[in-house]
């Protein structure tokens, strides 16, 4: 045990000397919270001798980090923002890696009756009509943007979502789930964050499966022409790994409580 402590001290002080190559990647909370990163990162380290340092933030901030050149690549899920990122010359290209899905969570007694809804749009309409509490991320993240687009599609505009029942937490997925749990509110979450969440309280998964709830993750290396210091070669190496069959098997094979979370759909050139 003593040896372990000494080793930890040594590793900490000499850290940078002994370590493999490093790169920084901004990822969304759902990727980290799902636990998938804990599976992939050690494999990346083993295969490529590459330490990928994750900055776990919302999509909005991930994109800002890429624009500022503070990370070497980003892995996010908000198509419009990603395309704007490429168009702005901040990224070289966008590579789709995998998708997961969003689910609607709510109180166990389901006062709005969303469990029997036929579509995501119908489920949200039911919530709006019942005026039952709904917790929104409200942090400009990919999940937040997705949620907003679903409200628009359901015909519940911004003016219809008043604060008496629509609560913007302005926080990450976990913190917002804590808020929903505390208020016994409805919430839209990615499936992985929900399964991993430890403070469920009375909340239950009430609705899932509508194709509009699918959530595409894409990998975007930061443009070395805009930011000459970025580690473009490492970012390319990581990209090759992420679209490889080996990554595909790991992603498809990752389960939580017996449920598959991610579906690998990268196309190899």
């Amino acid at each position: 045990m003593k040896k372990q402590a000494i080793f930890a001290i040594a590793a900490l002080t000499m850290g940078t000397v002994l370590q493999a190559e490093e790169m920084k990647m901004a990822v969304t909370t759902s990727f980290q919270n799902s636990g998938l990163s804990d599976v992939l990162l050690p494999e990346i380290k083993a295969d490529l001798d590459l330490d990928v340092q994750l900055l776990v933030v919302g999509t909005g901030q991930a994109i800002r980090l890429g624009e500022a050149g503070d990370v070497d690549a980003i892995l996010v899920h908000s198509r419009k923002a990603e395309e704007a990122f490429i168009a702005g010359g901040n990224g070289t290209h966008r590579t789709e890696i995998m998708y997961n899905d969003f689910v609607l969570i709510g109180p166990g007694d389901d006062p709005a009756g969303v469990a029997s809804a036929g579509s995501a749009a119908e489920a949200l309409t039911l919530i709006a009509e019942a005026r039952v509490p709904f917790a929104s991320r409200g942090d400009d993240s990919g999940t937040h943007k997705k949620e907003l687009s679903l409200w628009e599609a359901a015909g519940v505009g911004e003016s219809a979502r008043d604060v008496s029942w629509y609560k913007e937490a302005g926080s990450g997925m976990g913190a917002t789930l804590n808020t929903a749990s505390g208020m016994n509110a409805y919430i839209m979450s990615d499936r992985a964050s929900w399964l991993k969440f430890g403070n469920k309280g009375d909340l239950k998964l009430l609705f899932a499966g509508d194709p509009v709830l699918f959530n595409q993750y894409a990998y975007l290396p930061v443009n070395p022409e805009a930011h000459p210091h970025v580690k473009a070669d490492l970012a390319a190496k990581l990209e090759d790994w992420l679209i490889s069959d080996r990554a595909g098997a790991l992603i498809d094979g990752y389960t939580l409580n017996g449920e598959t979370l991610f579906t690998f759909n990268a196309k190899q050139e």
Binding site: Q4, A8, L12, T29, G198, N199, H229
Partner: protein, 234 residues
Amino acid sequence: MNEILQGMIEAGRLIVTLDSDLIEISLRSLQVTVTAVLISSAIGLPLGAFLAVKRFRHRRAAIATLNALMGLPPVVVGLVVYLLLSRSGPFGVLGLLFTPSAMIIAQVIILTPLIASISHQTMRDMWAEYHDLLISLNTTRHQRIRALLWDGRRALLTASLAGFGRGIGEVGAIMIVGGNIDHATRVLTTAIALETGKGEFAVALALGFVLIALALAVNWVIHTLSRTEVGERW
């Protein structure tokens, strides 16, 4: 209540099993805050003594400013340091963002006014006491500051420990400039925020207990080593 109990059990388990992640982030917490406290003390303690000894035109304004800076919101400091160190900011070329160095820089900015201000209060009282003797002995300003710092060292230790207390528990600034990267910039406080976000209250609370224990242990060790409360010392 149940969750607090679970937290204590979890804390006990993490410590007894010498959990390697726990050791790593605890050591990093110490590394960041101790370094920041040393730098802040090297600046703040003499600055406090200087302000006590030297009379100049805007001295009162300087002291008032210093006291006001004690209340700097860490989140704002973090944001400003972030923008300065970002690759698109003025110090971007240094590549310091999301490193322990960035966390130390942010903490130095937060801790220096606190340490300098407490130092100034201590030094002001001592200077009132020593004034006539040191003037009579024809000391230079440099000699005065040295004598005050040396003779006030035990009181000044309290200033540094107050800085340590504020630094070790700080999360707002280091979360922003460090990024809470696993195995790189994750420390106890940012880990607590992360676990809370995951709804893992027991683990978060366990880390909280470890943090408190660490803060107490450091204070206790320093006081024991300096024998603050022993015998006829002060």
